[in-house]
């Protein structure tokens, strides 16, 4: 109770209104005390001077007593903090130049970190949106020829019935589809899914119903589920869509339900159809243990660990291998947590970016610490005076920490603003294969991260100068000219800080230069065809194209129409363009003369092309011939192989006339009639793999991309091509109308993303380091003005002083570079995976980066060095 009462009394003491009155009262009281005491002393026979002196001594100092009373009167911690804040803000306002640099430095560091952290937070740290998502597992099939392959439908059914570890297993199968209704055609990503998928993912329809398990079988109902996005965008969120008919690949489906916002599993699916597939297809799928097309996902039972489930699935696949040796021998299930499966590939890259941003932060912090140290040194006199007037040391130190925390908070706010401002442009260049893109935003956790980061910076980097101030010597601080002796009490610490930030800047710059080099080299990679002046457009055949001849007729018609268009040089069709990854086909092949054992199967990619494809793409024919318009049957036609295939499979022999058998297909042999140049199919960065070309007119796939080589300006033929396609069939959705140049350029988007961010970080890092060097040197020059004046007065040449100061900068830069080279060697392993055609320790790049650093350091020294040479000896000597 008395404690509470006293707390209230002290809180009231905080109020400014009565402060002056209380202050006067205290002064009066002490005054009366002294008078009483003095009088008594006089009565004892002291002279008046001695009487007063003794009274003062006995009291222990009027100001000191007042100060203790003040602390007791209110809550000193709170009050002085408020005071510190007010004073700090005033100081910062007064030194606007210093404040601007410090806040800007911090803003860059915190902004960079917040921006990258917001990506990491959404992509890597936040759990997937599905309930209890930790128990969702993706299951792949590892076959002897391919790791991480999709699973056959037959194997999926066996897995589902035999495993003991999963609550449920579901299979999905993604496709591009033509959606057609009164609004016309649109290409959408569709997926067939078993009914168990939705309950497993914890999804309830916002409208209508989900699939029933009967929908997994032959003779299913023709119903679809819509994504929330497409329901809103295409149907205006109208609930009346339920029960309406839409055409998906020309088959009528009834809309049965709408799924909640944000649900697009698998991938970016917008429309789900039951796994019933088509009767014909499903029946062949049911028994086919060779077509690996199903993406399998499962939810672990509670209490079952991943290791348990793996052991359990190993038992299941061993059983299947014994029962179906021809197809399932040596096949295993590979289990990967869904989250890991989605984001695992992006993890390293993002953490490297985070590391780079962290380096920017470190550099900014070093700058800030250095700035604060030198400012602290410049304020020694202020502290000495305050100390002499009764200010205690911890108060002074706390004042300094408060100032730097204030700075840090201002920097943090500016940084968050910067992160907000740059977010849109970062999102614009983020590669679209990064998962969970739509979830990226600045949430509470990101803001908390930025806040904690700035607070830690403020406290962490306010401590050094505060410590310096607290132990500074009052006497020397008060002496005139004391700035020479007391000046920079810690030059070595500051030099170390600056060398450290040069090292960080060098590492970032080196990283950026290496990525630049890789990028330039990637641009020089020959794709194996001539991408200039080619426009392409794709379509998928709906179910109305039941027979091969219908597809062939359609393709021939479009090609013929386009060929007649003025300005068009060549037209052809292909199942898939190079560098497109969705639906890329590959599989095991067996070449004649080798045993039929699956384990010796070789892997090859497949592309189905029309006869004019190689000419239109300008892929060189190395030997033999290409296809003609009318040859072979659907299963025993001729093939053309790539140079790599020819070299790998028939080293030292003539591949023409040799035979290849497709293990996924049938026992028929196909004869090699031609060899063409290699094409970069998967990526410009990867070596070409064996590729087999099949004639489209014998074996049309269910999708085709038209390739049109024009005389000039291919862009303008996009519309012509789309029109030509619609002239033949206006129910088809034409998609991916783009030039080959564009396609190649887009394939480098991930590289571009890392290059740009690294480049930005590298640039900021070097700029900050230069500011740091400038700050250090110019502070040093300011302190030594008198010394330079004397030197000049006794005959030193300006040139010599210039050289001396530049030499200092150079030594600093070289020390930093030595550290930086060590650091970059240590970190080289991390970045190696992001480079192409250049080693992380490439000496040339190293030299260039080092040269840039040295140049910037010297440039930063030059301005203060010039100032030093212009010191007027007279003024310098007269100073003070």
């Amino acid at each position: 109770m008395p404690a509470l009462r006293s707390l209230f009394a002290r809180l009231a003491g905080l109020l400014p209104g009565r402060r002056r009155e209380r202050e006067r009262e205290l002064a009066d009281e002490l005054d009366s005390h002294l008078q009483l005491h003095t009088e008594e002393n006089l009565r004892r026979g002291m002279n008046s001077e001695e009487a007063r002196r003794q009274a003062l001594l006995k009291l222990g100092g009027v100001e000191q007593t007042k100060e203790i009373c003040r602390e007791r009167r209110s809550l000193p911690l709170l009050e002085t903090s408020l005071q510190d804040l007010r004073f700090g803000a005033r100081m910062l306002r007064k030194n606007i130049g210093f404040t601007t640099i410090a806040v800007l430095t911090l803003a860059l560091g915190i902004g960079a970190n917040t921006a990258i952290f917001s990506i990491i937070n959404s992509v890597l740290l936040r759990p997937l949106q599905y309930p209890d998502s930790g128990r969702l597992i993706r299951l792949y099939t590892d076959t002897p020829v391919e790791k991480g392959s999709d699973t056959t439908f037959a194997a999926f059914l066996d897995w589902r019935s035999r495993n003991r570890s999963f609550e449920s297993l579901a299979a999905t199968w993604q496709n591009d589809s033509n959606l057609y209704d009164t609004l016309g055609p649109e290409k959408i990503r569709s997926a067939n899914a078993t009914a168990g998928l939705f309950p497993m993912m914890g999804v309830r329809p916002v409208l209508g119903r989900l699939f029933r398990s009967t929908d997994d079988r032959v003779g299913y109902e023709h119903i679809v589920l819509l994504s929330y996005g497409i329901w809103q965008r295409r149907y205006g969120g109208d609930p009346a869509i339920l029960g309406k008919q839409i055409l998906v690949d020309s088959t009528p489906y009834q809309v049965a339900g709408v799924l909640p916002r944000g649900f697009h599993y698998p991938g970016k699916t917008d429309i789900w159809m039951p796994m019933g597939l088509g009767e014909e297809f499903l029946i062949s799928f049911h028994d086919n243990r060779r077509i690996h097309a199903m993406e399998v996902i499962g939810r672990l039972k509670p209490e079952i660990t991943l290791a348990h489930a793996k052991a359990d699935m190993a038992v299941v696949t061993d059983q299947l291998a014994q029962e179906y040796p021809a197809t399932d021998k040596d096949s295993h299930a590979d289990l990967i947590p869904l989250e890991e499966d989605m984001v695992g590939a992006s993890r390293q890259g993002l953490w490297i970016l985070m590391g780079a941003a962290g380096f920017v932060m470190l550099i900014g912090c070093a700058n800030l610490a250095s700035l604060l140290l030198s400012r602290g040194a410049g304020r020694l006199k202020e502290f000495a005076i305050r100390g002499a007037l009764g200010g205690n040391r911890t108060r002074l130190a706390r004042q300094l920490v408060t100032e730097s925390v204030l700075l840090a908070i201002a920097g943090g706010l500016a940084g968050i603003a910067l992160a907000y401002a740059t977010q849109a442009s970062i999102l614009a260049i983020i590669p679209s294969d990064l998962p969970r893109l739509d979830e990226i935003h600045l949430d509470g956790r990101v803001l908390g991260f930025a806040f904690v980061l700035s607070l830690l910076t403020g406290i962490g980097f306010g401590v050094a100068p505060a410590f310096q101030a607290a132990k500074s010597d009052l006497q020397s601080g008060l002496k005139p000219g004391g700035r020479d002796s007391g000046g920079d009490s810690n030059p070595r610490l500051r030099k170390l800080l600056i060398a450290g930030e040069i090292a960080c800047a060098f590492i970032l710059l080196l990283g950026a230069s290496l990525m630049m080099q890789s990028f330039l080299r990637l641009l020089q990679v020959r794709p194996g065809y001539t991408p200039q002046n080619v426009i392409t457009a794709s379509i998928g055949f709906p179910d109305s194209y039941q027979t091969s001849s219908q597809k062939v007729r359609f393709a021939k018609q479009v090609i013929e129409d386009m060929r007649g268009t003025p300005g068009v040089r060549d037209v052809a069709g292909t199942s898939l363009l190079p560098l497109v990854s969705f639906k890329r086909q590959s599989g095991p092949v067996q070449i004649d003369g080798e045993p039929a054992d699956r384990n010796h199967g070789r892997e090859s990619g497949f592309t189905v092309v029309t006869p004019g494809f190689f000419r239109a793409m300008q892929i060189p024919l190395v030997a033999g011939r290409t296809f003609n318009e009318t040859e072979g049957g659907p299963s025993s036609g001729p093939i053309v192989v790539s140079e790599t295939a020819a070299r790998n499979w028939w080293p030292g022999q003539d591949p023409l006339g040799k035979h290849v058998r497709f293990l996924w297909d049938g026992p028929e042999d196909r004869e090699v009639v031609g060899i063409v140049g290699d094409v970069k199919q998967a990526s410009l960065a990867l070596p070409s793999q064996p590729e087999i070309y099949l004639p489209f007119y014998n074996l049309p796939f269910s999708y085709i991309t038209f390739v049109v080589r024009t005389q000039q300006d291919p862009e303008s033929f996009g519309k012509t091509l789309a029109d030509a396609i619609h002239k033949v069939d206006d129910t088809l959705a034409v998609y991916d109308v783009q030039t080959l140049d564009r396609l190649i350029s887009d394939s480098l988007n991930p590289n571009r993303f890392y290059l740009r961010l690294f480049g930005a970080f590298g640039f900021v890092a070097v700029a900050l380091a230069a500011i740091g060097v400038y700050g250090l040197i110019s502070f040093g020059v300011g302190q030594r003005t008198r010394e330079f004046g004397i030197r000049l007065a006794i005959g030193a040449l300006p040139r010599e002083i210039l050289r001396m100061i530049l030499g200092q900068g150079l030594r600093l830069a070289l020390a930093g570079l030595a550290l930086g080279v060590l650091g970059s060697v240590a970190l080289s392993r991390l970045i190696a995976g992001f480079l192409f055609g250049v080693q992380p320790t490439d000496p040339f790049t190293l030299l260039v980066a080092a040269a840039i650093i040295v140049f910037c350091a010297l440039a930063a020294c030059y301005v203060p060095a010039r100032r030093a040479t212009r010191v007027d000896p007279m003024i310098a000597l007269r100073y003070e």
């Binding site: 009281e29 009483l36 009291l59 007593t65 203790i68 007791r72």
Partner: protein, 113 residues
Amino acid sequence: MTDKKDVWQGTLALMVLKTLQSMGPLHGYGIARRIEQTSGDLLAVNYGTLYPALLKLEQEGYVSSEWGVSDNNRKAKYYKLTRAGRKQLQTEEREWEQTTEILARFLSPERES
């Protein structure tokens, strides 16, 4: 000035309260002098430390203060005990006696038993 003990924290408040009880309303200087005299000049009170102690007691409501005039016509701030202060003094006196009694037994155990 040689052998005087510093007044240790906490006991000062008790001394102040006791002084006010026995002397009635008194100003700061008077309290300080009285404490010194009562202790037989064995205690050296740094007079400055008295004022925060008085402030604390006032905040806790054990003493109240008002300006008055001293014997020799000086303006001075007089402190007097409140009712809460009187009660507090009783409690503290009791506690203090207990403490000293216990300590006394420890320090001269041979007198026991």
